[in-house]
Amino acid sequence: MKIGILVKQVPDTETKIKIRPDSLGIETTEIKYVINPYDEYAIEEALRLKESTNEVQTVAISAGPERAAEALKTALAMGVDDVIHIIDNDAFVSGDGFLTAKALSKVLEQESFDIIFAGKQAMDYDNSQIPQLLASLLNIPCITNVSEFEFKEGKVIVEREIEGGTKEKWEMTLPCIVGTTKGLNEPRYVTLPGIMNAKKKEIRKITLTDLKIDPAQTTKTEIKKFSLPPEKQSGKIVETVKELTKLLKEEARVI
């Protein structure tokens, strides 16, 4: 069985994000990058499946600039067998879902995976689109926000929670896509042997030209301007609960 894992490199959530003076992007010089936390659940689940099943090959794929190779090296160090880097220093920076999905879909088609694990969203642009876009482009089933996974009798059974605390159990035929979220598993740490092993592995590189994709035609969203959230007016610190209640009723009108 062949398993694909989609991985993205994103800024660490603790990093301060600054807008460039021209408002058309962010300052990247002081950013610490990490593997997208939701993708770690994807890698972990793929590795668990590999450990519990015969003859499973795992391949992680990332679409991003040169630095994204670090995320792929982390995947290798965790135990993933092979990695593919769809590399472009400009096209993927704005996080356009359609372009990313289109590029990934061409590679996924070539690789012929049985199951594809992907984090449900990336913590930079928070679009939550990739697994679902791919489902449509590849014409395969997809359930995202998955917190429980089972591979049983050639089918994938997943559980996810939707609004109101309702839990749904879905069955999907192969090939399929699973969008992972917190609670699915506890991702393993990279080990020293893993890191040493990763150093020996080659990262397969593919360009958009190789995939015959023209980013200008394929980018469907555009960020025209980055801005800071509006300065919140200083809140009122109140001394008494009585005062607070009065303000909430008469001024804020929320009770």
């Binding site: 800024p11 959530t13 994000i17 807008i19 962010i26 936390p37 879902g97 359609f98 999905a101 913590m123 930079d124 642009y125 928070d126 679009n127 939550s128 689109q129 679902q132 876009l133 449509s136 395969i140 089933p141 997809c142 359930i143 929670e161 939707i162 609004e163 109101g164 605390g165 839990k167 749904e168 159990k169 879905w170 069955e171 999907m172 035929t173 399929c176 917190k182 609670g183 980018t219 469907k220 969203t221 555009e222 960020i223 025209k224 301007k225 980055f226 801005s227 959230p229 809140g235 009122k236 610190i237 109140v238 001394e239 609960v241 607070l244 209640t245 303000l247 909430l248 804020a252 009770i255």
Partner: protein, 326 residues
């Protein structure tokens, strides 16, 4: 410029969810030609609310096979409708269903989708969507290079305003013409949530607890505060107490939990870490109760009170009860 707008509706027991009504008002800013589509079982035509919303027509796909949303089925039906009617803008809630459906539609139509938007404006015949990025640290003004223009909106974020003119609403009942057997994706079990209270992402009032809450017994204090304010008020929790087993993950608010936008968010014993703020920053009124006057939560709170939640919350419950009996 009368754009043809479709809103993908969602319902609870056949009635359109109140958390999406604001989208109807927003759509009216751009056009008079607004339609809504509802898929499910035992639907109602919702004419009463739609008449006051400026919506011209509702498409109803009412069938027992649509009881539980299956993205494959819903997607096929919607694409049929979209291809038939040729909409210019398609809006939906950034809910589980909206997130399931809209990217699928975007891919099939080879167009762009702006997700989880908090606002939209029209400028020179172009639409710009405002959406939070980097866990809400920044906003991006996003444009779409494609047609139709697709967008999902954060539940509860847009204001609903009744239209001055009551309009007539056309009800169009649609037939299910697709194969509902042979699905690659099948729902095999549903365990409905026990509560009849609204989901966190749709709630108007949330009382949320953080590290200051020492155990699950004490968490009940927050439930009492919620009850005192409204039967529809719900409780939320920070990651710290979810990880500590004091509150369930289903009510976790924050970057790895839910993103909420209630009218009132009361943060009890929550310090205000970036990851928590990511999930509740767009709440309309934020109240912070914390022992530590330097807690970052006070920086984004509209009202704050420095003190122990174990003293403050019971007092607050008393004062609110007094208020209600006045």
């Amino acid at each position: 410029m009368n754009k043809n707008i479709l809103i993908i509706g969602e319902h609870k027991n056949g009635k359109i969810k109140s958390s999406l009504l604001g989208i109807l008002t927003k759509a009216k800013e751009f056009s008079d030609n607004i339609s809504i589509v509802l898929l499910g079982n035992n639907l109602t035509d919702n004419k009463e609310i739609l008449k006051k919303s400026g919506v011209k027509r509702i498409y109803l796909y009412d069938d027992k096979n649509l009881e539980n949303p299956n993205p494959e089925i819903y997607n096929k039906l919607l694409l049929e409708l979209i291809n038939e009617m040729g909409f210019n803008y398609i809006f939906a809630l950034a809910s589980n269903l909206g997130k399931d459906l809209m990217p699928r539609i975007a891919a099939k139509l080879e167009t762009g989708l702006a997700s989880d938007c908090v606002d939209a404006k029209s400028k020179n015949e172009k639409l710009f969507f405002k959406r939070p990025i980097y866990a809400g640290k920044l906003f991006a003004a996003t444009g779409i290079n494609g047609e139709p223009i697709l967008a999902t909106f954060r539940p509860n974020i847009l204001e609903f305003k009744e239209q001055e003119k009551i309009s007539e609403v056309e009800v169009i009942n649609k037939k299910i013409t697709i194969d509902i057997e042979n699905l690659a994706c099948r729902l095999i079990e549903v365990k409905k949530g026990k509560s009849d209270k609204p989901d966190l992402v749709e709630a108007d009032t949330i009382i949320s607890g953080g590290r200051g809450v020492k155990n699950s017994e004490d968490f009940k204090l927050l439930e009492k505060l919620a009850e005192a304010i409204s039967p529809k008020a719900v409780t939320g929790a920070s990651r710290a107490i979810v990880d500590a087993g004091i509150a369930p993950h289903t009510i976790q608010v924050g970057q790895t939990g839910k993103t909420v936008a209630p009218k009132l968010y009361i943060a009890c014993g929550i310090s205000g870490a970036i990851q928590h703020l990511a999930g509740m920053k767009t709440s309309k009124i934020i109240v912070a109760i914390n022992k530590d006057p330097d807690a970052p939560i006070f920086e984004i709170a509209d009202y704050g009170i420095v003190g122990d939640l174990y003293e403050i919350v019971p007092q607050l419950i008393e004062e609110i009860k007094k208020l209600k009996t006045e």
